[in-house]
């Protein structure tokens, strides 16, 4: 694994290795000294062309816990409006010797461009690109599901049923989740009004439904996506109220879920729009835990990309055993 651009690039083994590694990382986080020396001397750049304090902080914490040097490069608000500056920025980071670049960008494919255009040699981690993908979010979601729905045994999500509800069309979280969960053997149902379902979704490895109520009863996890009220101005739905009524999760609907089912949200939430406050704060909600798990998953991704790349040169692939040694 040289870059992390799309969960579609991950084999099942890759994905499981990432999740298992994240498990180890989480145990580090629970120790008194939360730091590993693994990436000492390596530089991780957080290159954020869009504001996302929560994701940036999560990556920053992950890199620091692995003892990497972290540079935050907020391109938002600077003179970055035309594309060439992505190239110029990349050339700058290359000159600075960045080992990994964590990029958040409003344009779909910007991380892929960075990885392939020949501007920079660093490992590229996609931290969300346009309405394309957000792989570490999907990994932390799968990680969270595994802890709740497959806490022991083979830890497999095979056959688990996950509903992803809301603005699938514009959601990078939905894309990354759909691909990753399918790879992990889970059964995904996308639920949205037809206007917010991507064109060509029939070819995705998922089921689709326009009716949330019928899907809820057979779901092990339900993931509510953020819906921006501006979408109603583009006629995706008539009003916020109608949207909430048909696709929002309130306690009445939540009651249709099986006893063990969990409620997820990638954040930030529009309380009252796609999810009511009482559902967000209920015992079934694992939304706060998702944040904690985010750091562990991002540690795993950075670790596997950076120490893995180094090990690859000496033909020994990264394993969790290496990690355990590193902790000693």
């Amino acid at each position: 694994m040289r870059h992390l651009l799309s969960t579609g690039d991950l084999s099942r083994d890759d994905a499981v290795l990432l999740l298992d590694t994240a498990e180890e990382m989480l145990s580090v986080a629970q120790r008194p000294i939360k730091k590993l020396p693994t990436l000492r001397g390596q530089t991780v750049v957080n290159l954020f062309f869009e504001d996302s304090t929560r994701t940036r902080i999560s990556f920053e914490a992950a890199a620091k816990r692995l003892s990497a040097d972290v540079i935050n490069f907020a391109a938002k608000g600077s003179s970055v409006s035309k594309g060439e500056s992505l190239k110029d920025t990349a050339l700058t980071l290359q000159a600075m010797g960045a080992d990994a670049v964590v990029i958040r960008h409003g344009a779909s494919g910007a991380p892929a461009r960075l990885a392939r255009a020949g501007w920079i040699d660093s490992a590229i981690l996609n931290a969300g690109d346009g309405s394309h993908e957000h792989p570490t979010q999907a990994l932390l979601d799968a990680f969270t599901m595994r802890r709740h729905l497959a806490p022991s045994g083979d830890r497999s999500l095979e056959g688990r049923r996950v509903a992803i509800v809301g603005d699938v069309l514009h959601s990078r979280v939905a894309r990354s989740n759909a691909l990753l969960l399918a790879t992990l053997g889970a059964e995904v149902t996308l639920v949205a009004p037809p206007t917010l379902m991507p064109y060509g979704v029939e070819s995705w490895p998922v089921e689709t439904s326009y009716d949330l109520d019928t899907v809820l009863a057979k779901s092990d996890a339900v993931m509510m996506l953020r819906v921006q009220t501006e979408r109603m101005n583009a006629a995706f739905f008539p009003s916020a109220r109608e949207y909430s009524r048909r696709y929002g999760l309130d306690s009445r609907r939540m009651a249709k879920l099986p006893e063990h089912a969990i409620v997820m949200h990638p954040g930030p939430m529009n309380r009252g729009m796609e999810i009511t406050a009482d559902v967000a704060d209920s015992v079934r909600s694992v939304i706060v835990e998702q944040v904690t798990n985010g750091v562990a998953v991002r540690m795993a991704a950075l670790y596997l990309l950076l120490s893995g790349a180094r090990d690859a040169a000496t033909t020994s692939p990264a394993t969790t055993a290496d990690l355990t040694e590193g902790q000693a």
Binding site: G83, G106, G130, H132, Y199, G200
Partner: protein, 438 residues
């Protein structure tokens, strides 16, 4: 003026003959012509075609001389075997007055590599609000007959109707860039399975087809002439086929890139493949090839759209739409149409020379290779092949989507009214063009 004898050329890919050029005119065609006092061009193994005519070229001058100029664009055209290009109106200032179209036309004449027929804008500033002075452009020295807001669609139905009606007075044609604007807001690539996966806003086929359907009905209603630019979908082919069967006076063009490339290239996120209309599916490509062979699509037009490297060396959404195409057009047509058996070389001459000149109402181009006709001739080696390298382009810009692809054929020589603009595969530079014509 030097006289030439082209020896042993296969005329339109058929009979081998010699062609004598005297005073810019084809003086004699026959076997073993007398070669005393002439320059002999050996055309063994080469095909002679009439000089190619492009109905859709962006020369960028005035305004974007960092991408292309009339000089570099016409050199590129000559290298591709063209003797006439129609220069699109979306320059800065827009070619919406007699002054601008005359300027572009004159620049073409001065440089002498390839004739330039300016296209006039349909609406002032391409703004889609008010008709430009179409009559003044028609009456100017540039004799404009093709009008287009290309880059933008004349989406207002009333304005389109009026434009179609108005140009009847001087036998003009409206060349429509068919793109329903509301259906394509923020559009980045063909709307299909892939756009949803890549998270790139879709440009649906219906946005093209809906405009073409409306426009053929308008053309029928007012009894005028419509030309459809860069038709790109199977559905559009069906509509044009239907319109023609009703006797509607509609013609259509397809670009070389839409005959060869598909939307799957967008998965690279490399904006070298970003173009408007977007690359479509393999099924659309098959339909376009068949339609061109059948004549439902009348012509190939390049939509040569030069851009400086910074407009492509960026992320997909920030990149400009467009590809260069003059120098590869004939090779792509050979590869997609001739080598596949869909079209013979006479068919190529028809689709790339005779018909585009007829649509543009340019009498002196697109003529048959016959005695007494102007000596606009291209000599082409169909057995050559090359791997396309952007750094080899004659165009000032490098945005070719065929980088690294092996394409057949090579333009060996181009004659414009008896003067060589290309010899031995190399553009004859301006100084010697003047010398020759002196």
């Amino acid at each position: 003026m030097t006289a030439y004898v082209i020896r042993n050329a296969s005329i339109l890919g058929a009979d081998v003959a010699d062609v004598r050029i005297v005073d810019g005119v084809i003086a004699e065609i026959g076997t073993t012509l007398d070669t005393s006092d002439v320059e002999v061009i050996d055309a063994d193994g080469l095909i002679a075609l009439p000089g190619l005519v492009d109905l859709h070229t962006h020369l960028r001058e005035p305004g974007r001389e960092d991408a292309e100029t009339v000089e570099t664009g016409t050199r590129s055209a000559a290298a591709g075997g063209f003797t006439l290009v129609h220069a699109m109106a979306n320059t800065d200032p827009v070619a919406d007055t007699a002054g601008v179209v005359e300027q572009v036309w004159r620049l073409g004449r001065e440089h002498g590599y390839c004739d330039v027929a300016p296209v006039g804008a349909v609406t002032v500033g391409l703004a889609g609000e008010k008709l430009a002075e179409l009559g003044a452009m028609a009456d100017s020295a540039a004799r404009v007959r093709v009008f287009s807001d290309d880059g933008k669609c004349v989406s207002d139905a009333v304005l389109m109707r009026r434009a179609l009606e108005y140009v009847k007075a001087f036998d003009g044609v409206i060349a429509q860039h068919a793109q329903e604007p509301r259906l394509t807001e923020g559009a980045q690539m063909n709307e299909g399975e892939l756009s949803g996966v890549l998270g790139l806003t879709g440009w649906p086929a219906v946005a093209e087809e809906a405009i073409i359907a409306r426009d053929v009905l308008l053309a029928e209603h007012v009894g005028s002439r419509l030309h459809v630019c860069h038709l790109s979908t199977r559905g559009s082919v069906e509509i044009v086929r239907w319109a023609k069967s009703r006797g509607i006076d509609v013609t259509a063009e397809v670009t070389p890139h839409h005959l060869l490339l598909t939307d799957e290239l967008a998965a690279t996120y490399d904006p070298i493949y970003k173009v408007n209309p977007p690359l479509r599916t393999a099924d659309d490509v098959a339909a376009l090839r068949e339609a061109l062979a059948e004549g439902v699509i009348d012509i190939v037009a390049t939509d040569h759209a030069p851009h400086p490297s910074e407009d492509k060396d960026c992320e997909w959404a920030a990149a400009a739409f467009g590809m260069i195409g003059l120098e590869t057009a004939l090779s792509v047509v050979q590869h997609t149409m001739v080598d596949t058996g869909l079209l013979d070389w006479a068919g190529v001459a028809d689709r790339m020379s005779a018909r585009p000149a007829a649509i543009g109402r340019v009498a002196s181009h697109g003529r048959p290779l016959a005695v007494g006709e102007p000596a606009n001739i291209v000599l082409y080696d169909p057995s050559a092949s090359r791997v396309v390298r952007p750094e080899d382009t004659v165009s000032m810009s490098r945005n070719t989507p065929y980088r690294g692809i092996e394409l057949p054929g090579k333009v060996v020589a181009t004659f414009l009214r008896g003067r060589p603009t290309v010899l031995d595969g190399t553009v004859v530079d301006e100084a010697s063009v003047e010398e020759v014509s002196a």
